[in-house]
């Protein structure tokens, strides 16, 4: 399978979606994907190459804006930020692509605790199914991060998603910091109670 065939016509889908949405309503990237005409008379290879370029450009615009919002936002537990709203729009419009872009951004910035925490704090605000599997993979990766804030955000994600399927993952984690380990155990206990509650109903 070549690389281009693994992308399921994202640009066609995105353009159609965008035609129905007023551009001023969102600051999600639009320009590059709406101004390029379909290359119907060209070879399919060229068309696919063009689509790839469009996807790349859209991703670039998304990650730039998302990073900007992360730096501008004041993160406080209990409150959402403009970055949440932006990711929500992106997930609605680009679905899996948006999750992949967030994952890419996450990997590129894994050594930066501020950005890593911000990404985890944002994705924790979405449903488990909505972020699965990329969200879960990102959170798991952070369990071993050397920064305490990042490790805490890992637990916070699983706590917020409240999915008993993640219990086996959480039971495989432990932390040397007492308060963090105590928090982890509390979350495990909460999830176990949820599981028992579901089973007993």
């Amino acid at each position: 399978m070549n690389e281009s065939s693994s992308i399921p016509a994202p640009i066609t889908l995105s353009s159609e979606t965008r035609q129905t949405a007023p551009p001023e309503k969102t600051d999600l990237p639009t320009a590059s994907t709406t101004t390029i005409e379909p290359l119907t008379s060209e070879t399919s290879t060229l068309t696919e190459a063009c689509k790839l370029a469009q996807v790349g450009e859209t991703r670039h615009q998304f990650t730039d804006r998302f990073l900007q919002l992360i730096h501008e936002s004041e993160f406080e537990y209990g409150f959402s930020t403009p970055a949440d709203a932006y990711v929500r729009e992106a997930l609605n419009e680009y679905s899996t692509f948006a999750k992949d872009w967030i994952s890419d951004l996450f990997l590129k910035n894994f050594s930066d605790p501020f950005i890593t925490c911000a990404i985890l704090r944002v994705i924790a605000h979405f449903d488990y199914q909505q972020m699965c599997p990329q969200g879960m993979i990102m959170a798991v990766a952070c369990a071993a991060h050397k920064n305490t804030d990042v490790r805490e955000c890992c637990v916070r994600c699983f706590e917020s998603w409240e999915n008993p399927d993640t219990l086996s993952i959480l039971r495989s984690i432990s932390f040397s910091k007492d308060w963090l380990d105590e928090y982890l155990k509390g979350v495990i206990s909460d999830l176990e109670r949820l599981t028992n509650h579901v089973v007993s109903r």
């Binding site: 209990g78 409150f79 916070r156």
Partner: protein
């Protein structure tokens, strides 16, 4: 014994070994002591058993539920350091608790440092507690059932996790 309650971010105060006398990190000060008009918001409880009332006052305003760290500050610690406390109705959906709110006022660079010392002292006294998301859900659910807060006034993402009754 009355306490003043404030939400803090536990991990920020853990960046330095404040228990053994190190100075708190700048992150702790800038994240947990963000002032508005040179004031810092606190909730008043008459004893430790009222702690969840203060938690309800805080959490009912959330746009998203998340675990929070709550610190109980002995009122005498603040008064002893000559910080000014002024009663002012607080912003909360728990309307019966609105008047249990005070501000530390007239804060400036040195007095903010004094307030930081008060927080450090309270953490040393182990007066902090984490309320996990499940515990907040329980507190809010009970409050809705008891009519302390109206479900319809909770923010949409919070409503999703709290039964309407």
């Amino acid at each position: 014994m009355s306490f003043l309650v404030r939400k803090i971010d536990r991990s920020k105060w853990d960046q330095r070994n404040i228990i053994d006398g190190e100075q708190p990190s700048a992150d702790a000060i800038t994240n947990c002591m963000r002032t508005t008009l040179n004031t810092l918001s606190l909730w008043l409880i008459n004893d430790v058993n009222e702690r969840e009332e203060a938690v309800l006052a805080i959490a009912s305003n959330f746009t998203n539920l998340a675990a929070i760290d709550i610190l109980l500050i002995d009122r005498a610690l603040i008064e002893k350091r000559k910080l000014t406390l002024v009663t002012k109705p607080g912003l909360t959906l728990y309307s019966d608790f609105k008047n249990q709110h005070l501000n530390v006022t007239n804060l400036d660079y040195p007095s903010l440092g004094v307030m930081a010392e008060v927080i450090v002292e309270s953490i040393r006294q182990k007066r902090h507690k984490r309320f996990r998301e499940r515990e907040l859900i329980e507190i809010l659910t009970n409050a809705v059932r008891a009519g302390k807060v109206k479900w319809s006034e909770l923010k949409p993402d919070v409503q999703k996790k709290i039964p309407q009754n």
